[in-house]
């Protein structure tokens, strides 16, 4: 991981603010997202002269956080956000938690009131290290300007290594003004922090042995494969090619394995495919790579894949045996583990069992065509809208971000990814409002690519002010709203669980999205006719600037298939919801 070179004794005197900018530059930061304020002005002043670091001014600090996440997720680099103390910092709490849940590398620099005012309830004071202690991977309050450079380098090291995550560096204003010594990043390390990268050879041998005997194996991959970098996706593909094992993935892991591959089962879990969930339930060997047995994936735990041996490859030892007891734990970086496993599998001369009967069984599940829906020529079906969006963008390099809800699941089901880092979504925390600022971040990293935020009309209103950011910085993001006038997933659960009592889930007083787009200096498009949809999507794609697309879709459509809460993988609802799917215990779950 870290290159071992002799520590450079680069020591220079500069102000705290200059130390911040110099350290960011040394860390290779090209873009950062932020919002100025009283306690962070010295850093902004230093940034004024820094032409090589692009600062994207958001409209709300939460937007800066999600933009940094989108940037990080689409590049594999560390996202950086810079905000002021108090409300600036507290507005970052949601993206920090989001990045922790989805293991996104991010460094958040917050200004703090001057040291002598800390603890006095000063103007715009908030104990942000206290507030973020449980939602950041690590955090710092810098009390000595001579430690500032080390702290920032350490923050990057911690954010980007091991299981990545957000790190907060809180810098009081007097420290930003004070003069101190700059040290370079070489040689900065944290003795108590040493993630295990390489797998234990015995564990790898044990997994290879299980593979050599398995008749019904499955690879269940997650966001860890993407976080581990392109090598991990490559190794996964090679291992799959060698063994022929069918692959499913979590929401976070989409793209690590090509969706166009015949052994791809689609996403698993609550709104995953019938074939993926049944294969999980009936497999005899489950190899979990960089995923964490989330409740949205497992369904009812005591009925989870009852007859399989389970292998769990994860860089975070606390993820192993947290939810599901596994037979072979492998603590390692996904790329290192998959490469070692590929070598161990290749080394074995013994013929592996024929997987044809297993794949034939999977084909019978696939033949159920679980994602089929009733087409319509009078109203746009949301699934159809995503299908068309996918068809019309296939030839281009396309990055998709989403908000949270039904549209997110339809995007995961109907948009297909062949490459990692092209799919950005809030999986763990489920943050409505994530998609648009994330798209802003992605577009900053990939100025020439097509970046689309697939949104719902409710989610988009949480962070829609960031369209103004896109306009200011000439970021041609496309926001594709599946507008059904409902908080669709809430409505679906109310139909399923609460006797169709739709309490406060109707999107009343919606803005005119076309006029809204125009007011913000973007282009607005509306479509409610399936016959015109292709033309309108083409219009969106051909427009050079940001677009807000109000796609009016079927209002009462449910997102299916679905594993009702409290049910097992083989108890999916495929057709219509009747209202009796969820038992007493399931009703108490989220």
């Amino acid at each position: 991981m870290t290159v071992k070179t002799k520590p450079k004794t680069e020591t220079r005197l500069m102000t705290g603010a200059e130390i911040v900018i110099t350290a960011l530059r040394e860390q290779g930061v090209e873009v950062m997202f932020g919002y100025p304020g009283g306690s962070v002005l010295p850093i902004y002043d230093a940034l004024f002269a820094a032409d090589d670091i692009r600062h994207v001014l958001v409209r709300h600090e939460q937007g800066a956080g999600h933009a940094a996440e989108g940037y990080a997720r689409s590049t594999g680099k560390c996202g950086v956000a810079l905000v002021t103390s108090g409300p600036g910092a507290t507005n970052m709490v949601t993206p920090i938690t989001d990045a922790l849940m989805d293991s996104i590398p991010m460094v958040v620099i917050t200004g703090q009131v001057p040291s002598h005012l800390i603890g006095t309830d000063a103007f715009q004071e908030a104990d942000i290290t206290g507030i973020t202690r449980s939602c950041a991977k690590h955090n710092y309050l810098v009390t000595d300007v001579d430690q500032l450079a080390r702290v920032i380098h350490e923050a990057f090291l911690i954010a980007t290594s091991g299981r990545p995550g957000p790190v907060v560096v809180d810098i009081p204003k007097d420290i930003q003004f004070a003069t101190g010594t700059y040290i370079g990043k070489e040689g900065v390390h944290k003795p108590t922090y040493s993630p295990q990268i390489d797998p234990h050879p015995e564990a790898i041998e044990a997994v290879a042995e299980l593979i050599s005997q398995a008749r019904r194996p499955i690879l269940y991959t997650g966001g860890g494969v993407i976080n581990s970098g392109p090598h991990a996706s490559e190794a996964l593909r090679k291992l799959q090619a060698e063994t022929g094992i069918p692959v499913t993935s979590t929401l976070m892991g989409l793209g690590a394995f090509p969706a166009s591959h015949p052994d791809w089962l689609g996403m698993l879990g609550m709104h995953g495919s019938f074939e993926a969930n049944n294969a999980m339930h009936d497999c005899d060997l489950m190899i979990c790579v960089g995923a964490r047995f989330d409740d949205r994936v497992t369904g009812r735990i005591d009925a989870f894949s009852p007859n399989s041996k389970k292998v769990h490859i994860d860089i975070d030892p606390s993820s192993i045996n947290k939810i599901v007891r596994v037979d072979v734990p492998v603590v390692a970086d996904c790329a290192a583990a998959l490469e070692a496993l590929l070598a161990a599998v290749k080394h074995r001369k013994r013929k592996r069992p024929d997987l044809k009967p297993w794949k034939a069984e999977i084909e019978t599940w696939r033949a159920r065509k679980c994602f089929s829906y009733e087409p319509s020529d009078t109203v746009i079906k949301p699934q159809y809208a995503i299908e068309r969006l996918y068809a019309l963008t296939r030839e281009r390099e396309t990055f998709i971000t989403t908000e949270v809800g039904q549209h997110q699941m339809w995007a995961a089901q109907f948009f297909h990814f062949d490459e990692p880092n092209h799919w950005m979504t809030s999986g763990g925390l489920g943050t409505m409002g994530y998609g648009l600022p994330a798209a802003v971040g992605v577009q900053c990293a990939h100025p020439d690519a097509l970046v689309i935020d697939i949104a719902g009309e409710a989610s988009i209103q949480m962070m829609m002010q960031e369209l103004s950011t896109a306009v200011q910085f000439c970021l041609p993001v496309k926001v594709f709203i599946l507008n059904n006038e409902w908080m669709g997933m809430v409505r679906q659960w109310q139909e399923l669980l609460h006797g169709e009592r739709y309490s406060h889930s109707y999107s009343e007083s919606l803005p005119d999205f076309v006029k809204l787009a125009e007011a913000l200096g973007a282009h607005g498009i509306r479509c409610d006719d399936p016959a015109l949809l292709d033309d309108k999507i083409t219009e969106m794609l051909e427009h050079k600037g940001p677009v807000l697309f109000d796609c009016r879709v079927e209002k009462a459509e449910n997102c299916l298939p679905m594993i009702p809460s409290g049910s097992a993988h083989n108890e999916m609802i495929l057709g219509k919801i009747t209202g009796n799917e969820i038992g007493e215990a399931g009703r108490k779950l989220v």
Partner: protein, 189 residues
């Protein structure tokens, strides 16, 4: 799966999302956690326990090596083997935590607690309190005509036993440090 009709659910699987470890026995463990003595480190450790719903029976902390800024936190906790395994893994995930030693599991642990115990009374009770204190090898560190403060070091059970004996003899107040621990033998950790 129950039909949701509201009648008594049949005896079936109880858990839904959650692991059902209720049948596992709860064990008591003493963990020594070696940390970098940096601001907020204790809050991180304590926050981990409260945030994830783990128990703390006792906790002691102090810097043990000033030159390397190392502190030692001794935590007595309870949980099923699954929970205890998670506690160790999550502690190790905290950046300033360098090492977690399960003193109980090592079977070579020594555990001690220091206590200060105030007893007030006169006549026979006062004499009896002093007599029992001698048996327990407690030191008298403060006395008035009507009270003693005893200093007693030992295993937690011993202190609890002494406190129980003092109760009818005029126990006023107890202050305990919580458990400190170290492993026997010449090796570290």
């Amino acid at each position: 799966m129950s039909d949701g009709s509201g009648t008594t659910a049949p005896a079936g699987p109880k858990s839904t999302y959650f692991l059902n470890h209720a049948d596992e026995a709860v064990e008591r463990r003493t963990l020594a956690v070696l940390v970098d003595n940096e601001p907020g480190v204790l809050a991180r450790v304590v926050g981990l326990f409260s945030g994830r719903g783990y128990n703390i029976d006792s906790l002691t902390v102090a810097e043990v090596d000033a030159s390397s800024h190392q502190s030692r936190i001794t935590i007595v906790t309870q949980g099923t083997p699954h929970i205890l395994e998670q506690i160790e893994a999550h502690l190790m995930r905290l950046v300033p935590v360098g090492e977690v030693v399960d003193i109980t599991k090592s079977k070579r642990g020594i555990e001690r607690e220091l206590s200060l115990i105030k007893v007030a009374g006169s006549g026979e009770k006062r004499v009896e309190a002093l007599r029992i204190a001698q048996i327990f090898r407690a030191n008298v560190i403060d006395t008035t005509n009507e009270s003693f403060i005893f200093e007693l070091t030992g295993a937690s059970d011993k202190i609890s036993q002494f406190v129980d004996l003092m109760r009818p003899l005029g126990l006023v107040e107890v202050s305990r440090t919580g458990v400190l621990s170290i492993k026997r033998g010449k090796e570290k950790g």
